[in-house]
Subunit: 245 residues, 2 copies
DNA sequence: AGAGCTAGTGTAAAAATTACACTAAATCAG
DNA sequence: CTGATTTAGTGTAATTTTTACACTAGCTCT
């Protein structure tokens, strides 16, 4: 009989890549760490999984404690387990991404894990020298989001309940890092019948107001089941500059 | 300062869903467990991750020790961490899938983990009452394979170096659980220029011999980089019976 | 020599995708 | 109140991709 005790000396954590969308910009929520290791570094919100807690439960707890967020779209992405990724011992972490309406977000400042909580543009993450291997985790989650958003109608999780088609298009452009053709985008989106036309208009804008739409959660459920396709192809007209830094 | 020691009492394992393809049938390699818990049950090949071992390294070690397999296509799929999934304590496991040419497989019988090693058809897995949550893991990995095979040219990893187009089609039909149109399949596959026509023929078959092809690993590399699409749609002519049990 | 098998091939119709430019409706400044 | 500014909203034709579909070719075995 083996001595299994040698294996029961590790820990695991969950880390959350929380995406939000604001002003045509895709953002990630980061915390300034209050604890060692990497104290005062920016990093992903995450913590040890408690002994009597499932992985998903732990990920949701972190979302709740740190950002006051409930009922959020959450998906496991990948586990990271390099031998020396954590200075305190052997720790593997499970990365999740979640999609959040920024307006719903209410930071909990009295948390003893984070000194500060702030949204950062995805493009700026690489400048921050994140704790642990969190930059790689953010990258992998962003790539995963990019892939999944083509196949599932999850983009709506990032928008307020009422939105315009242009806002929706900007969201997809931010996630896919490309430009989309306005007419083709509208044609495609509307043809899926996932939007409810609210017969309501934008107000207080200095230009022709746009119609407001709502996401149709019932149809969403149907589609989720019969695993459906949501392909969006890029326009060939304009080319965005590649963000290198 | 917190007492972090309470967290360092868990263990983690890797489990491998090893896919092979034989006689138009997609198979999974299972072991008959030699050890508690679940002794004498069939289960996925897997083991504890050693203290000084990365996750991927551990998954490859399991492949090597158990099946004598090297240089295999391997991909992390998902982690499973339900609180009571392991009777010995808190253990989360990282599921991998790998794609293997059955001919290369040489079981290592003198392993003290497995009493027996055997290929099972994917369709039969649910009858076996696998150890732990291994059935769910196998299901998730199969779904992942199904998704990925549409987007990456990985099917070839399951075939011998030289194969016919019909064999390739049967492989895709087994993975996608659907029938494909012969002419459309060939048109599509050949148009990707991922196959090298070997100017060689099948021999010893009691019918018109088919041409043999080889996978073009150089083009494969190019495609992997520029993240390419490999969509295969099903034929509407025939419908396979749904395997319910 | 013929039966039995699987290999291999082309085309036309339908559907999806793409490219593309002008008018409409609000605010704001003068 | 007029014109400038800004974004909303809309249709079509060309191209590409996908789909459906059936017969001949070439080997072995009896």
């Amino acid at each position: 009989m083996k001595n299994f005790d040698t294996y029961f000396k590790s820990a695991f954590t969950v880390d959350n890549v929380i995406f939000g969308f604001d002003e045509s910009d895709l953002k990630i929520l980061l915390i300034k760490r209050q604890e060692e290791p990497y104290i005062d570094h920016w990093g992903l919100p995450g913590y040890f999984v408690l002994p009597d807690e499932d992985l998903n439960t732990a990920a949701r707890r972190v979302l709740k404690q740190l950002a006051g967020l409930d009922n959020v779209y959450l998906e496991q992405v990948k586990s990271f387990g390099a031998v020396n990724r954590h200075p305190f011992g052997r720790v593997i972490t499970v990365a999740y991404y979640s999609l959040v309406k920024i307006a719903d977000f209410s930071p909990q400042p009295d948390n003893d894990v984070a000194k500060e909580v702030r949204w950062f543009s995805v493009a700026d993450i690489s400048k921050l020298d994140l704790a642990f291997d969190h930059e790689e985790m953010a990258d992998v989650c962003f790539e995963t989001l990019k892939r999944q958003v083509r196949v599932r109608p999850i983009g709506f999780e990032l928008l307020p309940p009422k939105f315009t088609l242009t806002e929706l298009q900007h969201l997809y452009e931010a996630i896919l890092e490309t430009d989309l053709d306005k007419r083709n985008f509208r044609k495609k989106i509307l043809s899926m019948n996932l939007l409810i036309d609210l017969d309501e208009m934008q107000a207080g804008v200095a230009h022709r107001p746009a119609k407001l739409y709502q996401f149709d959660y019932e149809k969403y459920q149907e589609f989720l089941q019969e695993g459906f396709s949501f392909e969006l192809k890029e326009s060939k007209r304009k080319e965005r500059p590649v963000v290198t830094d």
